[in-house]
Symmetry: D2
Subunit: 339 residues, 4 copies
């Protein structure tokens, strides 16, 4: 941590600051520059709240040097984390692209089983589908709840696909971890810290979606909560950020993929369905994500998008999904990966 002293600070203020820093267990180096005096604080500063020093008289600003996350970082674990998905056996983080597909919401048994068959044949390894749905409006369809989980489990038995579904509240963690193979934390809950804690205390892998306005640092700190609670199997998922852009629901930030891979050992996948909000943008963004190095995709597919109960505008039809998968396989090969 670097403390930058303001113009015109007094010697007494500098001494007071140095004393404060040293009381935090850090050692100090004072550097007298041409325009500014700075104090470098050396030691483990992850526990120190930098804003504690910000209002100390004479201080202009505090510049952190270390990222605040630790166990999610390559500094602590250099080799990539590879997560095995049950029962499909897929390995997220390997050189095989894992595709998870399925409807936005689980709507009825027959359709879900059909969709599962179709996506399995097209090469997907996981089946997604919301049983409990976070909806912006209280008037929208809220999901089938446990009944939806049962249908997902039945689809798994028939197809061997890994079941991925979202948990919305601490109270449901047990229930959902009984049915699901991967527990999803939605973007709106990325900083629901008690929920992060709860999924960290169970053993199923967690698919953690980036919050709509989360920085990379906050995203990795959210993963850090889960890992710290005992669960190292966190799959990160970029799903678009909120910007001023108007032609898409969110702006998909694909450069996050190499950025995460540079600092963290955790695998990262992409959700182009929520990340764009429009069917016609999904395929190009699937291909772009794979080319950029994504380790998997999560894509919405519905047997009859026109009549879907939620987000019909962003779900591919089975035919569209099959075509997209063929193209994904070609792009994957071009970057030395498999589908």
């Amino acid at each position: 941590m670097i403390v930058v002293m303001g113009l015109g600070h007094t010697k007494q203020q500098l001494n007071h600051l140095v004393a404060m820093v040293e009381k935090m267990g850090l050692s100090t180096h004072i550097i007298y520059g041409t325009d500014r005096t700075v104090v470098a604080a050396v030691g483990d500063k992850r526990m120190v709240d930098k804003s504690a020093l910000e209002n100390v008289p004479g201080v202009e600003k505090i510049v952190p040097i270390l990222a605040p996350y630790k166990v999610a970082s390559k500094e602590v674990k250099r080799e990539k984390t590879v997560i095995s998905l049950q029962p499909s056996g897929a390995k997220i983080g390997s050189d095989t692209i894992s595709v998870i597909a399925g409807p936005c919401s689980v709507e009825d048994r027959g359709r879900l089983l059909d969709t599962a068959e179709v996506i399995k044949q097209a090469g997907a390894v996981g089946l997604r589908g919301g049983a409990f749905k976070p909806r912006s409006s209280p008037y929208s369809f809220q999901g089938l709840a446990e009944k939806g989980l049962e249908y997902l489990a039945e689809a798994r038995e028939k197809t061997g696909l890994t079941v991925v579904t979202e948990v919305m509240t601490v109270k449901h963690v047990d229930l959902i971890s009984r049915y699901a193979d991967v527990i999803q934390i939605g973007a709106r809950n990325m900083q629901n810290f008690m929920l992060l804690q709860a999924v960290g205390e169970q053993s199923k892998p967690v698919l953690l979606k980036r919050g709509m306005s989360a920085t990379m640092e906050e995203f990795l700190l959210a993963a850090e909560y889960i890992i710290n609670a005992g669960n190292p199997n966190v799959i990160l998922c970029e799903r678009g950020i909120r910007t001023f852009e108007e032609y898409c629901r969110n702006t998909l930030a694909l450069s996050l993929i190499p950025a995460i891979q540079r600092v963290s050992h955790l695998p990262i996948i992409v959700d182009p369905s929520h990340g764009t909000g429009h069917v016609y943008l999904v395929e190009p963004m699937c291909l772009a994500a794979v080319a950029a190095g994504a380790e998997g995709l999560i894509v919405e597919v519905h047997p009859d998008p026109e009549h879907a109960f939620s987000d019909p505008g962003q779900q591919l039809s089975p035919e569209q999904f099959q075509q997209t998968m063929t193209k994904i396989a070609r792009v994957a090969a071009a970057v030395d990966k498999k589908l």
Copy 2:
């Protein structure tokens, strides 16, 4: 709802679209324009997911006409909602500005009681303080939990101030509603729909903070969840949005105040502490918020900001708070309000 047909759509596609809309229980009017054909759909469309029509062949886009919120809107209730706070008797939504103040986190009993006395004398009506703290990093101070609630209750007894504290998970709603007079939903939980539901099912007023990247529409839909669940006493709170700005933690969007007041009957207050993140910005933004029509303020005050356990950089000292209150009173008078 207006459905805009694409260039070159067929008559069959138009008929199919019209049939779909009518099956939703809406009536249709077709308007043949110079460049475009549009279909106006008339009826109660709040239950209709507009994206359901977006992928219908021949459709270019869907334009909603009505806002999706209802009970939070002036269309349903024209008179302003005035919320009485217990035990202080303050009325948020009246022509008196209500100021809630206190430390970011409850840290120890003595300091909290002292702070409560100081802010009471300066003219505050409510005492804020986090017992359970949402922290971006798992390594930061997480709050005193129930012990913190007890201290708050004791401070209320001594001062008559209204106690405002945050709930972070459904499981704690009962506990917190036993101690607090107003339950706060933090920005990170604005779309934690199960928590909204839960605080809607209890009777204490709810202070709902705007999410960091929530639109006005999403903010009012979150309030709608609470009202629909049975609790009409929702106080909205603008606390800054995430933008590219670098000199402040968040960009405080004060034009939201008159915008909300135009469409909703709910009172709106402002949190300049989180909304800026820096002490030197808090006072000017308090004054600006009152001038813009805010019905209250929630401000962080700490007896010794330098040694606060959380967010020290944004907490006023008692002296700073007293000075700010004096100025707030003058600006309030200039816009025909009282403190």
Copy 3:
């Protein structure tokens, strides 16, 4: 255009609005909905300023139906615009990916000629390099001016590459169009309307970079200025938008590529150097852009990035560029294109 009347408007207000709209040369259809009355205005509304009606008494809001651009749109010209670059003969908008490369700034003759040879051998068709540089700080290197243009022309003679360079002011348009084969409008000048007009009045193709906070609509309206002034050869270029993200200089919005291709006939290329600001992000974003359907790339390459006069952090070394080109060729083939 749809005019939405507010709740409680009077019949007189509705009549007044209808009269105003008809005076604009539009015909009107009134639709009485369940909650709202709306007036559909039919006719060519591109000349009508929608905000003209916004304050008319009784009006709640105006909803435009048509996009405001015309000649940049597929509605006016359905076939794709293919732009031939001289003297390289490259065709932007065909199934061949065109790569333009070179240093951020032209710095000296020898290095520029060397760089041109290297990028030519690696498969580039165009040479970029700034002679006049827009720099945020007046203390930064501002370019070699006409001397830089002469070096670019010399490099063209030796290599046959197409020369692309930026114009910053109307006064330089003549000078630069004498030397360059493609004139670039930088992001900061995307809404410098007099400059758009001036490059529209000369005949060299224009590379138009998207403004840092420009919507797709504004971007196409800027192209519309150029086309309307007489120059149909506009190459659009996505170069990242300003968001809250902190790991990159800008957020590269790759979904803009298919979005533009859906509504406009103009070709679109991508600048991953400015679009990310960091060398390690350039290659993955080149590959992602091609996979997403970009028709070309513009990439910064410098013989000795460490000693570059501007933006050294985002320029590839010649070796990095060659490796990236090899990978681009593979991804291009995977989406049925050539390099």
Copy 4:
């Protein structure tokens, strides 16, 4: 400047970095921390491009310590800049709030003269009005050009108001500086560096609007261009930034006022008309801006907003302006200022 070395860098890499920094004329201090080695570079670094070091092998990142602006900063000039406006005699930067008002565009002589009279009586000191208009669409009204300037000059003669009008291109600087008392640089030209240079070379005060996505640092660097070119009389103007908010055209960032006042000696005013885009938001934002410490306002007023040629939705009627001025006077008094 602080150079943070990456984990696992070699001693040779550190030596190379130190040599590079010293070659830039800076001296170095190496600090060996618990997790990281950092090199503090001391000396005048304003001329050094920080990104020059970013790709040096072994370097993780560069952290600048000093702001890049100099002459716009309080470090160089501590006393506030007060700018006298001719012929009104108003002093921007004093304890009197200066209000500039007038139509978005100059449309006809009679109306302009009437508007000038009205705003003068209401207490304005300046008359604004565009003769050359930057319009997003080439189909919108582009202004009356020199004829408009003549009307403005005539209005000045009749009323003694200071004339403020926008320059859009270098070529017009002479023409406009002959007619105007204050030359405005619009938001879209904030980084049109040649235009900044040109208005810096003439002697009329410059009203510099913040770009729609400009950081505070970029804003002050734009001012720095003008001051460096010879003109110290720069009035900064906040006019809203582009965010995801949908109820307003821009998000007015009022906390910029105290933030600028903390680091710069330049006066700052606010444009609530462009800053919100809607008449009903203008008055509350005028009051809020004054309460936050703005040194002036620039407000759009039109004798017949419904029939204005540009931006009718954001222009006040003369009656609305008079009422707003009365309220501004009261809020100004509450913060110890005058109108």
